[in-house]
Symmetry: C2
Subunit: 311 residues, 2 copies
């Protein structure tokens, strides 16, 4: 039976790239003309700010929809503007789904039992209202945190199975101090493993039996591009794991680093870039705030080309 990563692979083939655009809209970097219009229309309010995010996103999506099939939304950038911000997240997802995109909700949520179920229902399943069920955030894959153990993961796995959705569990995050906890050695089955490798073992266990046609489990892992040495053995050992790979561009990861994140057939990873793409106009002499979307398109094409050469 097909699972979410079969659909992801189809999308990657359709657009001939495993690249993903991260929609992390930041009011500080959104071009003036968008902010001005939102401010005029809604005033200096969270509604105005949220409207600016959505207008910005639409321009980026319109300018890149023919070249990329996967988008990631970092929810903190929306959530910070309260209920209107969350609506901008929902509206952006809806806009992407109307264009048949794969949408990754970078939510890094986790909790125990029935609370985890509420998150799973909301983001990748359906939520019960008074007398019907409704999709709320309607993302395809969510990032989650495995610190709480299996009973916090199970509701996500069950919901993902039911609705052909997926998850990426944090293993090795792209930030510098990820080493502090994730690289500490832990004992596991009489051997010693760093914590992020213990997490890989657990991810592998939690996803057992969820393999799709291409062999990937519906529980993948987040693994930072900034750790391209560390991925080598991990990639070799966990062939059935699909990776979400942040850290390209602004965080220092380069195209050459992506090589080890793919299986031998060139599959098994999504490489995501946010700031480097969506704010490309800021680092360019050719583009301004008036044609920022063209700068984003050019930067995406550049990333696509570089990573295509690697695979």
């Amino acid at each position: 039976m097909k699972n979410i990563f079969d659909l992801v692979l189809n999308k990657i083939n359709e657009f001939n790239t495993p690249c993903c655009i991260g929609l992390d809209p930041d009011l500080n970097y959104i071009p003036t003309q968008i902010k001005k219009k939102s401010l005029e229309q809604y005033g200096n309010t969270t509604q105005g700010a949220a409207n600016a995010l959505f207008e910005f996103n639409k321009k980026i999506i319109d300018a890149t929809e023919d070249i990329v099939g996967i988008y990631k939304l970092q929810i903190a950038f929306y959530e910070q503007y309260g209920s209107y911000g969350m609506q901008a997240f929902i509206d952006t997802t809806k806009y992407l789904k109307s264009k048949n995109k794969i949408v990754i909700g970078d939510i890094k949520r986790n909790d125990i039992g029935n609370t985890a179920k509420a998150y799973a229902d909301a983001y990748i399943g359906k939520v019960k209202l008074f007398d019907s069920e409704e999709s709320i955030y309607n993302t395809d894959i969510v990032t989650i945190n495995g610190y709480l153990g299996e009973d916090s993961i199970k509701p996500f796995i069950e919901t993902a199975n039911k609705y052909t959705k997926g998850l990426f569990i944090l293993s090795k995050t792209s930030n510098k101090s990820s080493s502090e906890f994730q690289d500490t050695y832990a004992s596991c089955n009489n051997t010693s493993l760093k914590n992020y490798l213990l997490m890989m073992e657990l991810i592998n266990k939690w996803g057992k039996g969820t393999e799709g046609e291409a062999g990937y489990k519906i529980a993948g892992a987040v693994f930072g591009l900034t750790f391209s040495e560390e991925i080598k053995k991990v990639r070799e050992k966990y062939k059935e794991c699909f990776f979400l790979v942040p850290g390209y561009g602004s965080q220092g990861g380069e195209a050459k680093d992506t090589a080890h994140f793919f299986n031998k057939n060139g599959e098994g990873a999504i490489i995501t870039s946010s700031r480097q793409i969506i704010y490309a106009y800021k680092n360019s002499k050719k583009y301004t705030g008036d044609n920022f979307q063209d700068a984003a398109r050019e930067e995406t094409l550049k990333m696509k080309k570089l990573i295509c050469e690697i695979i």
Copy 2:
């Protein structure tokens, strides 16, 4: 200088209890008359569901405000209803703050650098709009996850310091499978510690220099009441750590288990109970959906009395 836990201690003294009511409103358990009214007013929509949550919360708060000073909101129960759900979270917090309550946002968020800052600004700081800064969720203390290491915690510490707010970082969670990852032995400074103890070491380090007048650091820890044996050495070692203790009632924790969570002076922990209190009418012959708030009050008084006897 006073920090958040000095304010928490004042509140505990004012109401003579470290008990906290968890507002985890679940449509399945909200009394029919509240649901009926919301359904009539807003239809079978997320707005209707969110309205029912807020109306339910207000009744619970009104019935308990003279006996408890601290409330905790598990955000998943609001977030699942989209933007209206988030507004119900904001409205409930606002209602609690208008009554001078301490509000704990049980959000369990975490992320890297600037994303963590967005969460911190939103929940315990201020968010920049076009030309002003605004409090958005306005909680006093948030729960967060430390898996990503120091640079994901720092923005929360800095914001908490600036606005006299606090955080509880997950150490040992109350669920059964918390042992899976949290009890694995990790090597730390030539000794071997379980992961939740490694996390305690980190929490202690991250909070350095933030002690208030009573000596508590602004970075406390979440430690499940279901692990009352494990807390003994932890309580003794980390005297400057304030604990948020979930797991009372429905999850199996009893009043006698709380004893070891307090320092010798009877301070240093908040004991929180959600379902057992807010849905008390479900387990009672005396109360129905029409006076559910009185059942919640009675259950709160019972919990207060039992825990008071322990301290």
